[in-house]
């Protein structure tokens, strides 16, 4: 059991800055995120795209913003739990007991949900039967590529993941790559490589096809694909892989008794607490009259939520407002040596 003052759900810019604000007022925190790295949407959706509306930063990329925030919270040695999704919450006396998908447990005084639009999950095939095969012969990510050796693999998608895996697996497997159009969003070099492999007969490329259905009993035996013009082809497949990027899902947060309105959590604007005592929500996931989904609004919300957490973490102490410029305590927490 990890005991800390506050658990932050979501390692996007809002969650990261909230960790900073907690650190400044002397509270400890740990951060859980479903992705394998910090940064949230900034790192997953637009790492290279510029952002122009961070106060006092005329221009930066999502990746730069993330790295700067990580740098800013370094003095507080915040512990990250990546690749974990928070599943269960339980109130025990005045504390919250939290459990993640990977079985990590926390004992905390307060929770700050900074979950953006939810946790990132792979996008799935629209075809219903696919669910039945998921995890045994149909996958949306690859953990152990050795299972594909000498098998026939049908890969769907046109981005870098689909292209990279098609190239990689074509070394030891019979690969079909199926994509809905002639153009690809993946790197040009990979597109050329795939076309080359197709010409050499080391890979079968099917463009303007999409999945129609999957055939099989316990495991997939073949997959039917449908051309734009309507023609259907059945291709033998031992495994099917789908790479359609990630989508955000609210997931278990829906079951925590919070007031949810259009995929967002209602909060008050005094300290961004939800209708449940000790659970706060900040950033894109919270809603209140006038809410703007800007990173800078998330920073403000995080600063106030951090102070709102104080009374739960240190009920017998009074929080005094201080500036980092002059506060000795804050500077000590930041590790400033004079």
């Amino acid at each position: 059991m990890n005991k800390t003052d506050v658990l932050i759900i979501g390692a996007g810019p809002t969650g990261l800055f909230c960790a900073h604000q907690l650190g400044i007022i002397g509270l400890s925190c740990e951060i859980v995120d479903n992705l394998d790295k910090a940064g949230g949407q900034c790192i997953e959706l637009y790492p290279d795209k510029p952002i122009y509306d961070i106060p006092a930063v005329p221009e930066c990329t999502g990746e730069e913003l993330t790295n700067n925030l990580l740098q800013q919270i370094k003095p507080f040695n915040v512990k990250f739990h990546l690749n974990e999704r928070v599943e269960q919450l339980k109130k025990v006396d005045n504390r919250w007991h939290v459990k993640t998908s990977g079985g990590v447990e926390f004992d905390v005084a307060a929770i700050v949900i900074a979950g953006g639009v939810g946790s990132f999950e792979p996008r799935k095939f629209p075809v219903k039967e696919c669910e039945k095969f998921e995890g045994n012969s149909l996958f949306y990510s690859i953990k152990d590529k050795s299972i594909f050796r000498d098998k026939t693999i049908s890969i769907f998608g046109g981005g870098d993941s689909a292209l990279d895996w098609a190239i990689e697996l074509s070394n030891n497997s019979n690969v079909n790559l199926i994509h809905r159009r002639d153009g690809f969003s993946g790197a040009e070099a990979s597109v050329q490589k795939v076309k080359e492999l197709n010409d050499q007969g080391k890979l079968n490329l099917y463009t303007k096809y999409q999945m129609d259905s999957v055939v099989g009993d316990k495991n997939i035996e073949s997959v039917k694909i449908k051309h734009d013009e309507g023609e259907i082809k059945e291709i033998k497949s031992d495994y099917v892989l789908g790479f359609f990027g990630l989508i955000m899902q609210l997931g278990p947060i829906l079951d925590w008794g919070l007031n949810i309105n259009k995929k967002t959590v209602e909060v008050n604007t005094e300290n961004f607490e939800t209708n449940v005592d000790g659970i706060f929500a900040i950033g894109d996931i919270c809603s209140y009259p006038g809410k703007l989904k800007l990173i800078l609004s998330g920073f403000h919300e995080g600063a106030l939520a951090a102070r709102g957490c104080f009374k739960y973490a240190k009920p017998d102490e009074k929080l005094r407002f201080e500036f980092t410029t002059t506060s000795k305590a804050a500077q000590e927490r930041l590790g400033i040596k004079k």
């Binding site: 949407q41 795209k49 998608g157 046109g158 981005g159 969003s185 999409q210 955000m248």
Partner: protein, 106 residues
């Protein structure tokens, strides 16, 4: 101002006056028309505002910018008449546009 008609997956039809300059996505979201999630808020980064445009409108709409087709690869059941509604900016020329909202966005 343009009248935009949204056909939702529950077979309902909503015709809305949408102000010029807003996007077809915003017209739906602001009027509580279900089925357009717009998770990324209009940044062409998520494909959850995907719509099917009525065939006769396909050629009248502004062409897709770089990146829209890439995002449509990720959309739920993309078709030839798929567009991202966050990229369709409403103007007088779009008066009468009809779009179908898919059964799911992901």
């Amino acid at each position: 101002m343009a009248k935009i008609t949204y056909h939702t997956h529950d077979n309902k039809t909503h015709t809305i006056d949408v102000q010029n300059g807003l996007t077809v996505m915003e017209g739906a979201v602001q009027n509580d028309i279900s089925g357009i999630d717009a998770d990324c808020g209009g940044g062409m980064a998520c494909a959850t505002c995907h719509v099917y445009v009525k065939e006769e409108w396909l050629d009248k709409l502004p062409a897709k910018e770089d990146g829209e087709e890439d995002m449509l690869d990720m959309a739920f059941e993309p078709k030839n008449n798929s567009r991202l509604s966050c990229q369709l900016i409403v103007s007088d020329e779009l008066d009468g546009l009809e779009v179908n909202i898919p059964s799911k966005q992901g």
